[in-house]
Every structure is written in C-alpha cells, then in structure tokens.
Symmetry: D2
Subunit: 383 residues, 4 copies
C-alpha cells in the first residue's frame, strides 16, 4: 500500500522539487496525489497535469491544499506533505499541515529563523504526526556506516572532526541574471540571515553531529561576502568545540572555483579515523594507528544493518544522491506505516533527520552569524 | 501520461527484477499494471500483491499474461513488457510479446543462442513495436559522452581499446548452496554455453562497440573454469581486432577475489585517449598527447546533449547504476511516446541498445567459445 | 666542481640528518667533508667514520667545527654548513657559521623564538653568504608549478586558501618511551612554545604564502593538547586573513589517527582553483569554472621552467620527498656557484626558502600561540 | 667504504645514464671513478669532466676502460661497471667486464637476442662476480611487499595475473626527428626484434614473474606496428599461462595517447587479490573476499622486512622511481660488500634481478615475436 503524497512548491523549473519526487518514487512507497506547486494558480495546474495529478487536486496555495484535502474521505486524503519552497515559506505550511493531521517532509534549512524553528518544535512535539527534514547526506549508506562505527567505539573517544562543503557555482555574480537558484539563495528576504552557511553549512554541521553523535557547544565563525554586490555570505569557516571536548573545523564555500559539491567529513578517534566524501559516496575509508587503512564499501557483506537497509543493489553498483534522498523518504514511510499498523518501527527505519536536527541547524545559522559579528573568539552554541 | 508496463519474471528474491522496476519508476514514465512474476502461480500472485497490482493481472505464465492482456480494452492493456527471466526463457516470451503487439524490454544476454538471436532479429524487424536490451552501462551519462567524443573525431582514428570487467563473487563454489544467482548463472541449461562471458563479457563487448562505434571482426579467446566443479567459464580474456584496424583486449572474470563490479574501458586514438570506470561513474578522463589530462564530469555545463539528456541533477550530485538503468527505460519510453504521437524521437532518446546489440552480443558469446576451443589464433567474428 | 659540505647534528639515529645527506648527494653538487654530528665526541667520530669522513674533521661541537675549518686552506675548507639539530640549537651555530664566512642550510622551524629569528635576519642581511631554510614542500615541482600558475594570473585574484597537515603519529603518549623524535618535538625546552604548529604548522603556513605569493595579516587560532600529559600542542586550527583580502583556513594535527603526512593545499581564485597534496605529489589539479578540471603532471612538456628545472626524469617516473629536498640543495648550490663565478643565478635556482620565510614562520608560531591564548577573535600578524 | 664504480655509455643527453648515477649516489655506496661515456673520445672526455672524474679515466671505449682499469692497483681499480648502452652493445662489454673481474650492473633488456642471453648466462655462472639487471620496478618497496604477500600464502593459490604498461610517447612518428630515445628504441639494428615488447613488455613480464613467483609456460601474442613507417612493434597484448595453471594477460603499448608510464599489476588468488601501480607507488591495495580492502603503505610499521629494508623515510614521505632504482644499486652493493667481507648477504640484500631474469626476459621477447608470427594460438615458452 502506497502512502498518498502531496507537495507544496516544486513546480516548473524547481530543481529540488523534482529530486523529492524521484526520491519518493524510487522505492514505491508513495503516490503523488496532490500539490500546490506554485502560488500562481495556472502554473500549479500546469505542473499538476505534467505530473499526472487529477487537476482538481492541483491547488494554488498551501492553505487551499490543506483545507480541501482535509475535506476528502480519509482513504483518499493526502497523508504526507512534502514542502520544498524557499526557506521563508517553510514554517507556516509545515505548522498548518501538522496541525491538520498530515505528516510532513520539509526541505532544509528548516525555517527562516531559530525562533520559528523552536516554535515548530513545539508543534511537532504536540502533534502525533511524524516530521522529516531532508538532510540528504545522512541518507548515504556509508554515512550511516560511519555513524555506526563511531557508535561501536572502535575509533575510541572522538578527538577531531573536519567537515567541509566546497562549491564554486556562485563564483560570479549569478543573481543578476536568470539563475533562479542564485536569485533566492542570495536573497535575505527568502533565505534569512545567511546564504552559504544556511544553504550548505547546515548540511556540513548536521553531518558532523550525525556521524559523531556529539553536539557542538561553542563556535568561532568567520563569514565572507566574496563576490561584490552579494547580500549574504558566500563563504565561511567555523572552529568548533564539542560536548566531549573534541574540536572541529567546518568550512563551506560557494566561491571555490571549479568545485562541484564535494561534501566531505573526517573524524579521528583515539585509535582510528574515518573519511567519507560525496564524490566517492560508496566508499568509507577507515584509517588505523597500526594497521593498513580499510576501504569499506556499500553493499558489502561486512557492513552494518544500517548500511544494508539503505542499499538496493549488490556491492559494485554505485548508488548516488537520489538513492540517498530516497532513503529518507523510504525510512519515513516505513515509520509511518509502522504507526498505521500499530507496530514499532525498526531503529534503521527511524534513523531519519527530524525536528531536533532542524532546531540545531537553525541555531547553527544564528550562532554562526552572531559569532561572525562578534570580536570574542568563542560564542556559546545557544539553542 | 504513463506507459502501462508488465513484467515477466522478477518475482520474490530476484535481484534484477527489482532493479528494472526502480528504473521504470525513477522518471515516472511507466505504471506497472501486470506481471507473470513466477511460473508458480501462488508466488506470482504474492509478488503482484506486494507490488500493488490488481490480483487479476498477476498471471502465472507469460503466455497467460500476453493472452489475457490482449483481450483488455486498448486503453487498459499493457503496452510495454519487461522480460527479466534467466537466459533460456528470453526468446519465447519476447517473440510472443512482439507478435502480439507489445513493446519489449529484455534483459541481457539476449537469448540462449545465436540462432535464437537471429530469429528474434527477424521478429523485431518485421514488427512495428520497439525493442530494448538492457546493456545498462551504455546508459551512464559519461559513457554517452565518451561515445560522442569519439564520434566528434577529437581523439583521431581509434587505435586501441582495453575493456575489462572484474568480479570476485564466484571465487568459491557458490552454486552448491543457496545463492540463486550463482545457481542459474553457472548452469548451462539456463545460461547457455558460457557463464562469465555470457553474463559480463557481453557487457564489456557491448561497451567497447558502443563507445568506439567500431565492430569486432576477429577474436582470439582463452576461457577458464577456475573453480573446481563449475560447469561454465568463470574467467576469460579475448584479443580483439576491429573493422578499422584497431586492436583491443577484453577481460572478464568472476574469480578476481575482492573485486566488485568495476567495468572499465579505455580507448586511445591518434591524439587522445579516454577512460571510464563504473566505480567513478560520473567522471570521464580524457588524456591528451601534449596537454593536461581532463576530468569531464556528469552534470557539467560543457558536456554534450547526450550526457545532459541522461542526467537528472546538477553537477556534483552523483548519479549511479539505477539512474543509468533508468536512462534506458526513459529513452525507450520517449521513443514509444514519440511514435504514439506520430513524431520522430530525438537522437538522444533513440540512443538505447537494441536488437543489433543483442545479435552481436550472442555472436560474441558463440565466437568466443569457438575461439577458446580452437587451436587457431584468430577466429572470424561470424554473425 | 662540488661544494664542500659540513653538517652540524644528524648523527646516529637522527632521521632528518640522513635525509639532508641524501638530498645533498642526489645531484652531486656537494661533497660531505666534515661534521659535528653529535655533542658526544665519540658518537660524532663514529658517525664521521660511517660517513667516510676524515676522522680529523669529525668534530665534537659546532664551535670546534667552525673554528678548525676556518683555519684550513681555502680550497679545502668547508663551504656550506647544514644545521640539522633540534630547534634550540639553531640560532647560535647559524650565526657563528655565517659570521665566519660559511653558507648555511638550516632545518625548520628556523629558531627557538621570533626574537632569535629577527636577530638572525640581521646576521644574514649583513652577511655576503647565502642562507637556505628547508621548507621541503616548496621544492616539489608541482608546488612550484602551482606558484607559477597563481603568478600568471590565470586563476584571477586569489580568494580562498585551505591548507592542512594531518599526522597521526602522536596519537598516543609516545614521548614516554624510546621515540627520540617524540621526545624532543614535544619538549618545550627543545622545541619552543609550540609543538604541532612549530613542527608542521609552519610548513603549512609557508606553503600557503609560497604558493599564493600573499601574506597573512591576521589570524585566529585554536590550539589543543589532546593527549594527556603532553606539554605542547599536538593539534590546532587557524583562521587566516591575507593582505589582498583573501581568507584561509590552516589545520595541523599530530593526533589524526591513521594519517601519515599528507600535507595538502587548495587555492581558489576568481576563475579557477588548484589542489596539490603530498601523497600524489606529481599531480596538480586545476579546477575551472566552466571547463573540465585538468591534471597537470611533473615532467610533462607543458609545465613551466620552474617545474622542469626541478625534475630529473621524464613524465611518469614519480619523484618524491627526497627529490623535493634535493631541489633545495641543488638550487642553493647553483646560486652559490653563480656567485663564485660572478654570475647572476637564474630565477629558478634562486627559488629556495630563505631568511624571510624563517622570520615569518617564527612569527606564525608566536602569533598563533598568542591568538590561542587570547579571547579576541583576531590577532594581528606581528613580525 | 664506497665501491668504485665505472660506467659504459650514459654520456651527454642520455636519460638512463643520469638515472643510474643518481641511483648510485642516493645511498652513498658507490663512487664514480671512471667511464666510457661515449664512443666519441671527445664526448666521453667532456662527460667525464662534467662528472668530476679524473680525465685519465674517461675512456673512449669499453675495451679501453676494462684494459686500463685492470692495470691499476687493486685498491684504485674500478670494482663495479654499469652498462647503460643501447641493447646491441650489452653483451660484449658485459662479458668482457665479468671475465676481467668486475661486477656488472646492466640495463635491460639484457641482450640483443636470446642466444646472447644464454651465452651470457654461462659467463655469469662461471664467474665469481655478481651481476644485476636493472628491472627497476622490482625495487619498489610495495612491489617487494606484494611478492612477500603472495609468498606468505595469504592470497591462496594464484589464479589470475593482469599486468599492463601503457605509454603514449610514440603516438606519432617521433623517430623521424631529433628524439634520440625514439631513434634507437624503434631501430631493429639497435633494439633487436622487438620495440615495445623489448623495451617495456619485458618490464611487465618481469614484474609478473617476480611478484607471483610463477613462471610463464605458454603464451599467445598479438603485436602491432600502429604508427605508419615504424619498423618495430609499438603495441601488443599477450595471453599467458603459468606453471601452476594460473592465466594472465600482459599488455604494453607506446601509442596509448596521453599515458605516461603507469605500469600496473593485479594478482588474484583464492582468497584475496592485490594491486600496485607506479603512479601511486607507495600504495599496495589488497582486496579480500569478505572483508574491506586494505591500503598497505610504504614506511608503515606493519610491512615486511623486504619493504622496510628498501625504504629510507618514515611513512608519508613518498619515495619514487629514483629510490626504487637506488634500491637495486644498494642491494647490489650490500651483496658485493658481504662477499668482500666473507659474509653471507641478507635475503633482503640479495633480492635484486639477475641473470635468470635477463634470460627469461629475452626468451619472452623471442617467444612473443614467434607467437605473433604464428597462426597457432599457443606458443610454448622456450628458453
């Protein structure tokens, strides 16, 4: 039985909406039944038709979607709503959807501000519906393996974390032209107080906390607007202190000319280190103090149930970004279905990013910006 | 509008059936409406239910499927049939499906023998239905880019081709136990006269002819049964001569301990060479005589329309095996739809492997086996 | 004609002394004629014998070496003195050697303190003898190529620099045992106020300034003593600001478990970026905004005279650490010989690290330590 | 005490002579005392002066060198003679040198023909002097480690060997111009009956037999002259059968456009495989059936005495081609010195290529050419 899925945002020309839909289809756990793909009613209709949705369910606003769907019989009504709008249109539809009895999948960063994030946390906690935030990188099997390896204690106590996210696509003043992505992502009215750190720094931050199981307690940030005329940071570096005494360095840049999207994390413990990067996503390198480094691979027989659960093909068939994204959708579906069936979802299914990740992500953005503006070296990580 | 898809084979426990279904879903061009998932009626029914198919359309044999579907109204009837059975059950259902007016997607190697392949060629040629053979590797954007680069003449006349396909999964006598894959792939009654060369050698061969646009005219093969008790070759090497005078070396092995599935091709022309391998599928390395080697990447702005057409995400978001597979499904769908709309499909859409690839693949198998058994160095590539 | 070389330090069991001697031999520009290999007269003698030196010229102190050699006839007397003692025995012998008319090659970091470094600068500037500091990494052909590429302007104005130096060899409390390297490198009395930053951070810093041609103006440092009981930092991270407005991040660690010595630099300009790392020392990756990344290689025909000059073999024959080291020795010799012949040395020969690098390196150490101890975010880079 | 070294060939402009001299210097085991660097007396003199040799010992022919040196007092006389001339001038000087009491280091391929090789074998066996053939690749620490791993039995019985040597430098008709290397290496009068196979195929062959400890018993070769006008093969592929039943594929090419010199070997046993390539010379990859692949590294604590003995620096300091070459020189010197001291040289020291490697190398050339000309698939490997 497929879950009935609706989408807010993601109409014509939107990159991430299409990614969400592919992710939802890969494992056949969802059926797209409705959407408010655009605030322009005509466009939304057109997108709905292109996506094979009944035209009566291609709405012109998220409000209309939620209100109308609620009136449908329970066995036709949408069950899960994906929200893929720019940041400033995250909070309201998410809140309304949850309060009206729909599960929500929300694109990151979670909200426009930390205040919104904390309010949303209350909504989620008082709701009996589930919430998923699409920190895609945590969906990669080898990232999950990394987390399990740390958790197993094989690395020993964690001492050092390096996480980086270099991109080059904003090396020029792209927002002047027809690049819609550049337009809203560099626009404070749509993206909030940070550009680069909000967009990709939050991914790096989430990855660091996810893999290590640690939490950042202090940070020291330096943000830059490198390209003249730009309104938000397009580059930055952050020194980190974690709650176990470990330290770290997070870098994110959108002006690293020629870099694509190679998010990378390295974690070092007392006995061993590990390294994962998106360009070689099916490999996890484990480095040991006194023996050869090891190359752990997606689909291999020796990996944990968390990696295996999130893999569709035998070893040697590369799974990529879309499959990582699909893992979030699938795990969310499995968790919802377990609920519908009155069962307990498995730990593997429940391992998707949620409201706490979102709150901490927004706190990261605000603390980073505060630190950047401060002359003090260290800023406490306030939530 | 989605094409209505049926499937023969691919029931519980089958690896490749699941892959076909994911591939069909990724781009939303198909809706699975029926299947004969197993020759065991109960199993087929169970698979159908699991896949959300109307139980009346989960058939117990391909004959039943084709006959019953034919009786359905045209706008409900299946349009495309995927056949994912072992090799010995390829020819009959494909022939019957085509002759009854259904498009066919068939898993490779195409048939049990070259004779069957040539007969099937006649069927396809006399049919007005389309036929696709799933040589997955030709679906990778960077493999398509490689073909376009060769075609553009930038490499100069092609002189040398190295293609290799190392696996290690049959290093032990796996067919004795519960490994169903090992069971049928090493069984002459199901796989035909060759194991390794039929299963993966054909992929390597197809990749070589696809990328270079050349045809093999002579070959010299050495096949081995390395693991004691095995009935078909599990390793082999083939020297190749091409129709333009170039030479090549093809190796395939299933006893390369510790290797996953890293199919790799290198092609050298007068001025430049290129290299692609599945473990780094989004990269195409181009080596020049007198300037730095170049790293061409999936999703980049500078690649050809053939690569771009087969990519879903911007540069830096790795696409993998399932997306390559999906490219075959999508291009096949686009070509069928163009036909339904009375239009000419684009060259990019029409670029999927077909009956000629299948005939040449089966000829490869028979010629390789013949060469292996011959004391003559060179065996003509007979079709 | 070979230059007559003497060595201070580097006796039995010393790692770096042997490296210096190999570096001196590779290009046959030097003949080792004397040494004060140890402050223990017996040991020094023994080392001298092992090295094939006339026993009368194996001295028991640097003072003796300089005094006795000075009394030899000019055509027998040592010409160049290599000083490879721990940091606290750098200043005095270097000063004395220069003041007595000998050229000096000195191991880094240059001195025990910045004050010493600045005093040494005066000595060097008032001397007519040459001085070389062994920042080895600047001797790699592809590092030189990187510098030339930046200088050529092809990358555009530099915006971002990442430089890192991860090691894992001090992950445990090694200084308790028989590890002589660990002993002195973690001992403030021998190494000065910093361990990790003095030992390898200075290399990373020098590499960043060398490749970019820029200078650090401000920094923000966080140093750590990770291993319990250790007396000096074994890990650290530094945010950097450069004199053209670019920013950077420098990390150095000796507790990155399983890492060897993979110093790595990435530099991004307006149009392109470059990446070099020691584990793949003969490759320079150049990433472009709108065309394929390029792989520049040692020994290729297209590289600059600075790379070619520092390479001994045709492309494809990997040159490594010892050859990089030898490049410093060779360029120093070529510069000295040009002087002896009253000629101007070539720009390629003169491209070796000198006193300014040393002063800036010691300033780096002191500023980093000051910044680490400060609550202010930014510390001016004072020299 | 250094061994007194002489050189035949290797004058101005010769690439390999300079490499030999660097290799001899790196470990300080030799002192170059004489040479017949060119058959042109003036040139030889000039080279001698440039190399700092007493002009009286810069001879104009190898005969003169051997005769004159023999007349010198034993403690001044040359002890080891390096012969670095083109192939057709290998046999005579080697024979004469050995018969007159000098140890010989000879560049590969050993002789002009197999007949010469077998005659030389008799000379070596009846002499009490040592003989080393410079198959450089066996000098790499990680190649030695590979051999030890195979020998240890950890891989299980060897089943498959792939060895390849791709170069691109003869992609054009280089021998027409001023390229001296191209001139003699493509000239049958100087290189013998094979170009590519003699020059680099022999290296690949030697590497395969060295690492596996196996011997080729049959082969099937296809050689090509790809570039119009060339007189010797510039490309080829060879199927191999080994004496334990394993099979292999050897490829060598000088027209693989854009390739440098990336000799690579892969060996698969029942339980594991290994992979080494020159571009990443300090890494040995070991692939296991059911556990993560391992990255073994030069200089690590866990490698065998054979790797450690052939390494000068701690892990992470890349050693390259010149150090591999130097390992041959050093081991040869250690073996000679052991003899001079009446001791048994260590197994590590004795592990350098010798006369048997040379005979088998020349047999390889002749058998490959015979096989290429035969219509029979398999040619016995005759020695």
């Amino acid at each position: 039985m497929k879950l009935r899925l609706g989408m807010i945002g993601g109409g014509e020309g939107a990159f991430i909406g299409a990614v969400h839909r592919i992710a939802a289809r890969i494992d056949d756990e969802y059926e797209l039944v409705c959407g408010a793909f655009s605030s322009d009613a005509e466009k939304s209709k057109r997108s709905g038709i292109a996506l094979g949705i009944d035209t009566s369910r291609a709405y012109s606003s998220y409000k209309e979607l939620i209100e109308k769907e609620k009136q449908l019989p329970e066995d036709q009504r949408v069950q899960v709503i994906s929200i893929v709008t720019p940041n400033h249109v995250h909070f309201d539809p998410t809140k309304m959807a949850l309060e009206n009895g729909f599960h929500v999948i929300l694109d990151k960063p979670m909200t426009f501000s930390l205040a919104e994030a904390k309010e949303l946390e209350k909504v989620v906690k008082s709701s009996d519906k589930l919430f998923c935030l699409t920190h895609t990188y945590t969906g990669y099997p080898m990232v999950k393996e990394a987390k399990q390896l740390v958790k197993s204690g094989k690395l020993g106590a964690i001492r050092k974390v390096y996480v980086e996210y270099p991109q080059g696509w904003l090396s020029k003043f792209e927002e002047g032209g027809e690049n819609k992505q550049a337009e809203w992502r560099t626009n404070p009215a749509k993206s909030g107080i940070s550009g680069c750190m909000g967009d990709i720094g939050t991914h790096a931050f989430n990855l660091a906390e996810y893999v290590t199981g640690l939490q950042v307690t202090k940070l020291c940030a330096d943000l830059n607007i490198v390209v003249e005329g730009r309104k938000l940071d397009d580059d930055g570096a952050v020194l980190l202190k974690f709650n176990n005494g470990a330290t770290g360095v997070l870098t994110a840049s959108q002006i690293a000319a020629g870099e694509e999207n190679n998010v990378k994390i390295r974690v070092y413990g007392e006995n061993a280190g590990l390294e994962w990067q998106q360009t070689d996503a099916n490999t996890l390198k484990v480095t040991w103090l006194n023996k050869p480094a090891e190359i752990w691979r997606t689909g291999a027989g020796y990996v944990s149930s968390f990696a295996t659960h999130n893999t569709r093909t035998p070893g040697g068939h590369p799974e990529g970004y879309l499959e990582a994204f699909a893992n979030l959708y699938r795990n969310f579906a499995l968790s919802i279905k377990a609920g519908l069936e009155g069962k307990q979802a498995s730990p593997e299914a429940l391992d998707f990013p949620g409201i706490e990740d979102g709150v901490r992500g927004m706190a990261f953005v605000e603390n980073v910006v505060a630190s950047d503006q401060s002359n003090e070296k260290w800023t406490n990580f306030n939530v």
